[in-house]
Subunit: 199 residues, 2 copies
């Protein structure tokens, strides 16, 4: 790609450094920002810079936060007895979007994946055990991906929580709501028969 | 989408205001920038802001430029007798990428499209006529999309240039190089038979 402007070239390369954005898309975005009023496009850039400079990880749960303790952990209306363990911030948002859960979270920052060199020490596990021992905590809910790595992580954490007097639970696994049975994958369908629940 | 952080929410909304970027993609990009080192992500934002604050339109050809006159118009090695008329900056880049053209450009900023309310006065046409009258100019090459609007624009400009003593040419239209004849559209194939060239 031939650029007659260094400024455009740098902006295109910046966008193209983002995942899933190629040079052509980057150019389209840059030319769009050129069309928009200056204050508008500069405002776009400032929102990104402000976010990156000021964003924190909640010291309690590991969620992204504007303050040292995140808005969920600070909220007195949330059920302090429940802690939902998730892999990533994205999962917190997905669960919040369901509006079905009013407890707290704990973000691990991933799952145990020896092949990728991610061990228990790389995850936010120690602080979870600390929180589990808090007298307010009654239940730890594992909301981890149903994969081999996910199950390994659940098993590892459950073992560490054996001597703590709390309930440890797992989110339900089975066929998706609204999905046609014939399209469910074999493993899911097989396991949901084995793990059937009484009506 | 439920956000526990205002900073993240603003950054996601900023990205989602760009064309072709939805909320989910925006979130993915923001979480990516959170993972990257602060200087790196702030550098990204600064490149965008710097570009938008300082970018200019070349006073001669209308191309995007870091200076009042763009690097192509300033380049003494370019053939000053040729002016290639294009719709947009993107077309300048596409032609430059071919490395087949060493003349100058003139960016119209669009084509005449009455339905969308774009008339000749909205385009960079007056300055083109001025440049055509310059004694150095020998040929104006129309590199405009072969659409009804494009052809209207070419016709309009050609009429204005009737009393100027220069050559006005059109880029070749016909079947694409490397394409199979059977896949060429009917109009293109039909016209390329009518407009056949002698070998």
């Amino acid at each position: 790609m031939q650029f007659s402007s260094k400024l455009i070239e740098e902006a295109v390369n910046s966008f193209a450094s983002l995942p899933g954005i190629g040079k052509k898309t980057a150019l389209r975005l840059v030319l769009h920002l050129v069309q928009r009023p200056v204050e508008d496009s500069v405002g776009f850039a400032q929102a990104i810079a402000r976010m990156r400079e000021n964003i924190l990880h909640c010291t309690t749960c590991g969620n992204l936060s504007d303050q040292h303790v995140c808005s969920i952990c600070r909220d007195p209306r949330r059920d302090q007895s429940l802690i939902c363990v998730v892999e990533s911030i994205r999962d917190v948002m997905a669960i919040e979007d369901t509006r079905q859960y009013r407890g707290l979270y704990h973000v691990l920052g991933g799952v145990i994946a020896p092949i990728e060199g991610i061990g228990p020490a790389d995850l936010n596990i120690d602080s979870l055990i600390g929180r589990a021992r808090h007298p307010d905590t009654q239940e730890i809910i594992m909301a981890i991906s149903p994969t081999i790595e996910g199950d390994t992580t659940i098993f590892y954490i459950t073992r560490l929580l054996e001597d703590v007097d709390i309930t440890v639970s797992n989110i339900a696994r089975g066929v998706s709501f609204g999905g046609e049975l014939e399209y469910a994958d074999e493993v899911t369908l097989g396991r949901s028969i084995v793990a059937r629940t009484r009506l």
